[in-house]
Amino acid sequence: MQLTLEFGGGLELLCQSVKIHNVDVVLQAGETKLTMRVLLSWIRTNVIKERPEMFMKGDSVRPGVLVLVNDCDWELSGQLDTTLEEKDVVVFISTLHGG
C-alpha cells in the first residue's frame, strides 16, 4: 500500500532529518487491512533510525505527538484502529513549546 508519511516538530530527526517519506507497506500473510496499529510497528522497524522511545510509547505514539490521517486528528478516526487506504497521508508532528 502506497502511503506518504510526514514527520515534523523535530520527529524528522529520528529518521535522518527527512520529513517526507513515500513508502510502500506490504501486508503480512494473514493481514487483510492496514491499521494505524500495524503501521506504527512497521514505521518503528523500517523508518525510525534512532531513539525509537522518542517516537513510541507502548504500542502507540509517545505523549506530545499529534497523529493526522489525511489532515484529520486520528482521534476522530479511531486512533490505533484507524484503517488506512491507498495513497493516504499520515503526519506525525511533535508539539512545539518555543516562542
Binding site: E53, G64, L66, L68, L76, I93, G98
Partner: protein
C-alpha cells in the same frame, strides 16, 4: 450615525478608516474591538508582532505579562524591542512601543512571571481580560495558561515556534478542545526543546505571532471563523502550511471534561513544573559552535 452610536471618536474613525471600509468588518467589528481587552503572556518572539498588531488595530485594553529583561540576543526576532532597551524589563519596552504606535489604547504592564499564585488574579480581576494569548516559550507555562483559561472561561490563542516550524490554534472556545484534551500527558523532558537551546529563525515566530493577533482580533470583533478545533502547521523551509482538523473537547478531559473536579483552588495548588518535569524559566544559553 453608526460610528457615534458605537462610541467611535472622530480620531478613531480616521485612524481605523481602512477597517471601517471593510464590509465584513466595518463599524460593528471595530466597535467590538475597541471594547475588548486582551492579555498577551510573553513579550518575546511571538508576543512582539502580536502586541504591535493588537495595539495598532485598536483593542480597548492590552495587557502584557513578562518577567524577563531585554537582551541583545533577543533582538534577532523580538522586533518590539530596540537596542536602547537592552537591560530593561521587556514589559517596559513593549509597553512603550505599543503606546508609541497607538496612544489611545490602554496598556497594562504586568512585570512578573505568570504563576499559579497570580494567574487567576491577573486574568480575572481588574483589569479583566476577555481573551488570553499564549506567547510563552516553555511547557509548564502552556499547561498552566490553558488550565487557567478553562477555570476562568476564557478563549486561548496559542502559538509556538521552534527552529523553522510553527504551530497555532485556539483552545477552549466554541466547543473546541483545551490544551489537555490534546495533550493529557506531558511529553518526556528529553523531547522538549526551547528556542534558547535549539535555535529559531527569527521570522518564524513573527509569522505565528501575527496569526495569533489575527485570531484574537477575529474573536474580539466577532468576525470570521476562529481556528478552533483546527490547528495550523507551518514549515518555513519548504513554505508549506497546512490547516488540520483536531479533536473536539474531550468529555474525559481532567480539566475541561464533563466530570472534571478541577477548580480555581486546585489550579492554585497545582505544581506545573513537577507535572511537566521542566522549569518555568528558560535555562541560560550554551553556545558551542
Amino acid at each position: 450615525d453608526a460610528c457615534v452610536r458605537h462610541g467611535l471618536s472622530p480620531e478613531m474613525i480616521y485612524r481605523h478608516s481602512r477597517h471601517l471600509l471593510l464590509p465584513s468588518f466595518g463599524v460593528q467589528g471595530q466597535a467590538n474591538l475597541s471594547k475588548s481587552s486582551i492579555l498577551v503572556v510573553g513579550a518575546g518572539g511571538l508576543g512582539s508582532p502580536a502586541l504591535l498588531y493588537l495595539a495598532a488595530c485598536g483593542v480597548g485594553r492590552l495587557g502584557i505579562v513578562d518577567h524577563d529583561i531585554v537582551e541583545l540576543n533577543n533582538l534577532h526576532r523580538q522586533i518590539i524591542h530596540t537596542e536602547a532597551y537592552i537591560g530593561q524589563p521587556k514589559v517596559t519596552s513593549a509597553a512603550a512601543a505599543c503606546r508609541a504606535i497607538n496612544s489611545t489604547v490602554q496598556i497594562v504592564e504586568h512585570k512578573e512571571a505568570l504563576r499559579t499564585s497570580n494567574a487567576l488574579e491577573i486574568v480575572n480581576e481588574y483589569p479583566l481580560y476577555d481573551i488570553v494569548i499564549d506567547a510563552t516559550d516553555n511547557l509548564p507555562s502552556r499547561y498552566m495558561i490553558s488550565d487557567c483559561c478553562v477555570v476562568s472561561g476564557k478563549p486561548l490563542v496559542s502559538g509556538a515556534a521552534l527552529g523553522l516550524e510553527g504551530q497555532l490554534t485556539v483552545y477552549n472556545h466554541n466547543g473546541g478542545p483545551c490544551y489537555r484534551c490534546l495533550f493529557p500527558t506531558p511529553p518526556p523532558t528529553s523531547a522538549c526543546q526551547r528556542c534558547s537551546d535549539s535555535g529559531v529563525l527569527g521570522v518564524v515566530p513573527g509569522v505565528i505571532g501575527c496569526l495569533q493577533a489575527l485570531e484574537a482580533i477575529k474573536i474580539a470583533s466577532v468576525v470570521g471563523e476562529p481556528l478552533s478545533g483546527r490547528m495550523l502547521l507551518f514549515d518555513a523551509l519548504s513554505a508549506r502550511i497546512r490547516v488540520v482538523k483536531i479533536r473536539a473537547r474531550s468529555l474525559q478531559c481532567e480539566i475541561c471534561g464533563e466530570n472534571t473536579s478541577f477548580t480555581q483552588q486546585l489550579f492554585r495548588d497545582f505544581d506545573y513544573e513537577n507535572f511537566t518535569e521542566s522549569p518555568l524559566s528558560a535555562s541560560p544559553l550554551k553556545l558551542n559552535l
